[in-house]
Symmetry: C2
Subunit: 227 residues, 2 copies
DNA sequence: ATAAAAATTTAGACTAGTCTAAAAAATAAT
DNA sequence: ATTATTTTTTAGACTAGTCTAAATTTTTAT
């Protein structure tokens, strides 16, 4: 007769952060190097090598000396779960606790490591199962799957098209603050009233009300899905 | 010309947990021993001694070999802040995320270490500045002060008195589940309709509606403030 | 194809926190 | 008042994660 206690090897915060960093680097480059990880983690290459060995031992990554790394299915699942938690917490902070877009990141970095399936399921429910975080990045489901309607740049749309804002390309505080001032936010309905041929700037309406001009440069940094 | 960055020595989770444990032991006993701390922290006396030296170096505790410990003002402030965060998170979990009284503790143990003044201020606000957590324990304010109207046992009140439930003495799941079944909860208005002379059991009404009998034993474990 | 440069890994050391086993101090018992 | 017992501390070792400096491998340039 055995008693089964919750052992389910709790991963350390550090391991989780490495896996997340590797996942994000893999989104941009097909091969992830030790130096790239070191830079992302604000640490030294030697420390990264040590950790890579440990993660490989645990079968979270595929690693051979000098050859870079990739995630195993197991490792990717953990990374996606951290990303899911991070984005749900960001959404919670903005939607329920009056945080600004540009204030949430550091706190979410801490909250993403809280270990409770029930907690994150309830937060998801409380937020009414959002598909995007406050920066427009997609939120994976509990199984690590994305349900994405592909976004495109506002600058690519034709005159008179209507769309919903889902995110931004430039995440800098400067840009996010500009959007706040212009009262353009996630989930807003944007309609292109006119495209100025001179400089490709757009005349748009937001939520069928306030009409304004935005530069092409701005439009290139706003992600939308067509309505 | 100096630049001042946020250094404000971030305390480790472990240090915070030791200070919290010491605070709680000081509530019951005037002198706190190494062994008592070891038991509370699920660790060994030798480990405690090591940590006590470190905490004393940082001026969080008063410590002399073999003589037990007490908290300095600095240490108490940190402990109270952790307790404040723990209790506010518990309240949040119960009030907003449908957690049961007896499910919140482990998650709150993690959340209490999240480091963000704005976050906890907003949670406090979101909960409408509660004075007690779901177990009826008082929540200190941001300065570590309690604003307590002294609670007393329901069993001590006279016939026809009305009161508000603020807490319990027995925190066991068995008792909390009984209260759930009986639909007696924090903040409920309890009126004593009758006291049975035979066994001192009480006939009460809860929130002016459901009337029921509770044993004297139960009444001895319910904390209330007189209305 | 081979030398130079860059990237990566190893070796060895450090801190935080923990442990066991042994020594020292305090308390209790005769 | 002098043992015996209990409590506490020290000594030394271990793990996770980090670092610097040196060695090794890969890549780039000639």
């Amino acid at each position: 007769m055995y008693i089964c206690i919750k052992l389910i090897s709790m991963n350390s915060f550090t391991e989780e952060n490495y896996l997340k960093a590797i996942y994000k680097l893999l989104e941009k480059e097909s091969v992830v190097t030790t130096n790239a990880i070191a830079e992302k983690m604000n640490t030294k290459a030697a420390s990264v090598t040590d950790m890579l060995k440990k993660l490989a031992d645990k079968k979270f990554i595929n690693y051979q000396k000098y050859q870079g790394v990739s995630l195993t299915a197991k490792g990717e699942k953990i990374a996606l779960n951290i990303i899911r938690k991070h984005r749900l917490w960001e959404m919670f902070l903005v939607e329920k606790l009056n945080f600004k877009w540009d204030e949430v990141h550091d706190v979410a970095e801490q909250l993403e490591h809280i270990d409770s399936d029930k907690l994150i399921a309830q937060i998801d429910h409380f937020l009414n199962f959002p598909k995007f975080d406050p920066h427009g990045d997609p939120i994976p489901d509990a199984n690590g799957k994305f349900h994405i309607q592909k976004s495109q740049l506002l600058s690519e749309l034709k005159k008179n098209s209507a769309c919903i804002m889902t995110g931004v390309v430039d995440h800098s505080p400067a840009f996010l603050q500009y959007l706040d001032q212009a009262a353009i936010g996630l989930g807003d309905e944007i309609k292109i009233k006119d495209i100025v041929s001179f400089d490709k700037s757009l005349q748009i309406s937001v939520n069928k009300k306030n009409s304004l001009f935005i530069s092409n440069e701005v439009a290139k940094n706003i992600l939308v899905i067509i309505k």
